[in-house]
Symmetry: C2
Amino acid sequence: MSEARLLSLVEALRILPGVGVKSAQRMAFHLLQHDREGAMRLATALDGAVHDIRHCERCHTFTEHTLCDVCADPERDANVLCIVETPADQSALERTGSYKGLYFVLMGRLSPLDGVGVRDIGVGPLLERIEREPAAEVILATSFTAEGEATAHVIGEALKARGITVSRLARGVPAGSELEYVDLSTIAHALADRR
Amino acid sequence: MSEARLLSLVEALRILPGVGVKSAQRMAFHLLQHDREGAMRLATALDGAVHDIRHCERCHTFTEHTLCDVCADPERDANVLCIVETPADQSALERTGSYKGLYFVLMGRLSPLDGVGVRDIGVGPLLERIEREPAAEVILATSFTAEGEATAHVIGEALKARGITVSRLARGVPAGSELEYVDLSTIAHALADRR
């Protein structure tokens, strides 16, 4: 594969997370040999997304409009604000159908080892938003990983300093699981938070 | 992620081999949040490759021209033809620097279970090429998997029926490996083919 166009395609595919040289070559080969139409669809979709998708002015998630669907919905309860790391996390919460408040999407989480600090996630815009639109309660729904916990801690402290009620998603035994197979730290937390 | 443009991007990314919904979402998120420039480069590369890359008229590999670099090189020995499955396999052989003949790239291998038959790989064009440009020897360099072996068998029989000398890459113990860790079928073949 020494052709310039082919090399640029392989090189360009490597920007995708988790794609190394070998997978990129395999992808380029597959597209050119078996799915040129799909390749053109992908080119168009990339172009369309890059040009039309921006951040929602209210919650910071991806949207094609000024406000995303959730923020634009007058039925949502503006008194509760749920803070998540990514649009995918927001979408998981939405699918439960049991949350009617608004969201703020950080678009990341603290990860000092990867050079992601407080300024790189949307903490500034979050605090501005809270001042502009005060919420009675803020729910921290970041991941239960070391990085997600650190993110929740930093944001929680900043909000508490402003006198805002802050809660965190409950940690406990997942629905449908047998205790025997649940990791010990989860059981310990479920015990401590029993109700 | 309920936005139309975002959904089309996730959908379009799924045409890539080995990419499911979750990875496609992760890729779309990564591109839009961290690498919009890379996404545009990818769109351009896809577009360029689909429009400009075709098959070499002589060996069937990908090229932007009528003939690929190898086929256009007058120094190559036209008496030997090496048959490989993919451009990546051809490139591996080229990197050894020890082959000076020409190639024919099948762009696939027989795989009856996946519905890939003799007509779907370039056997027809290969036989036409052999008639147009007879070679003294044809080396079968398809993979040493069940499918690659079947491909080599079918092509080998067709070529032998036309009175052409056919050889196969040697199968044996890989360079640098300790016998203890080599699989038994490889050792058995290396024993049988000892020289």
